[in-house]
């Protein structure tokens, strides 16, 4: 088989690949969801072994609410996931650890800045909370969760602002 034969054989497959597969409308990403895990403590934040500080605006926001007010905060992890139209979505903010998982799905078609989500919080591979909430780019959902190393974990679920084209 010479070179021309190979090209004739392979070319149709190569050309067919991008357009041939039927696009699944259920996989259409309606938005992007940020799930973050914060470590909040009145003790020594370094026991978390995380050096990642929170943005000043987030710290101010957390400290303004009595139940979320702690002396120090650290970010333990973040996971940014697309919000698929017809599929359940899982965020694993602590990287390879599955100690904290968040399952979410769209309950209505989101707008550019807001989404109504069905949300489940899983801790230690066990579902501990199921709820529904409207999250926006400005108004996240904070879940004050389990205690750990003298502090407490706060799970934040928010809608990521849509990226501007060209930026």
């Amino acid at each position: 088989m010479n070179r021309r034969h190979w090209i004739a054989l392979v070319l149709p497959w190569v050309l067919a690949l991008p357009g041939g597969a039927q696009e699944d409308p259920g996989k259409q990403a309606l938005g992007t969801v940020n799930v973050r895990v914060y470590y909040a403590t009145n003790g020594d934040p370094d026991v978390s072994k995380s050096k990642k500080q929170l943005p000043a605006a987030v710290v101010k926001r957390l400290r303004s609410e009595a139940k979320l007010k702690f002396a120090s905060y650290r970010e333990l992890g973040v996971d940014t996931r697309p919000l698929f139209r017809s599929y359940e979505n899982w965020a694993q903010p602590l990287g390879s650890s599955d100690e904290v998982l968040v399952r979410f799905e769209a309950q209505t078609r989101p707008t550019a800045t807001s989404a109504r989500l069905g949300i489940e919080l899983w801790l230690s591979r066990k579902k501990v909370l199921k709820t529904e909430a409207t999250v926006t780019t400005e108004k996240p959902l904070y879940v004050l969760g389990p205690k750990w190393r003298g502090g407490q974990l706060i799970v934040s679920v928010g809608l990521a602002p849509k990226e501007k084209r060209g930026s």
């Binding site: 990642k52 139940k67 801790l123």
Partner: protein
């Protein structure tokens, strides 16, 4: 030869589901039965109307928190109904309703000055119960865990406080999964530990 189609064949023809010889046979028979041709036309018109009215795709319903969603929908639709009713104001209502309202307010004020303060507070609490607050649906499969929801205007966030959830063992280490500052991130962040605690 009997060319009259049976009911099944006729139903298929009415729905334009027949093809080939079967279609030709029923079509030839129908040429002498104008009422059947009219019925088929009516059927076609109806299908066209349905295609226009029924959307090609629809958001799938979701069954989660069915009852709470019904309560929320009722609560959200209540003010709309009030506005709609308010539009049908007849002339006598326009005249007498404000008068009656003012008289009622004056009477209430006068009665209020006659009743001792302690009793007033009690009566108000009994006669005007606050409408039930509509909280979002919260479900905690573990009976030991309680979830408290509130919307915090100060924090600009929705907050859920979990009580009774098992603590994560202290020997669980997230250091290898914890976020690492990148140059871009460090531009956005700043240390906000309180001095007393950072020691």
């Amino acid at each position: 030869m009997n060319t009259t189609p049976d009911d099944v064949m006729l139903a298929l023809w009415l729905d334009d589901e027949l093809e080939g010889d079967e279609f030709a046979r029923v079509e030839a028979w129908a040429a002498d039965h104008p009422e059947q041709l009219a019925a088929r036309e009516e059927n076609r018109r109806w299908r066209k109307q349905m295609a226009v009215l029924v959307p090609a795709s629809e958001e799938p319903p979701y069954p989660d928190f069915f009852n709470s969603r019904i309560r929320r929908e009722i609560a959200e639709s209540a003010p709309v109904e009030t506005v709609a009713r308010g539009r049908k104001v007849t002339w006598w209502r326009a005249v007498w309703m404000p008068t009656a309202a003012v008289a009622g307010m004056a009477l209430t004020f006068w009665v209020g000055t006659r009743v001792p303060q302690t009793q007033t507070a009690g009566r108000v609490a009994v006669t005007t119960p606050a409408p039930p607050a509509i909280s979002p649906a919260l479900y905690t499969p573990d009976g030991e865990v309680k979830a408290d929801y509130f919307s915090s205007s100060k924090a600009g966030a929705t907050v859920i406080v979990l009580d009774g959830v098992a603590a994560i063992p202290d020997d669980m280490d997230f250091s290898n999964t914890a976020a690492i500052d990148t140059p871009a991130d460090s531009d956005l962040t700043a240390s906000h530990d309180q001095p007393a605690d950072s020691q």
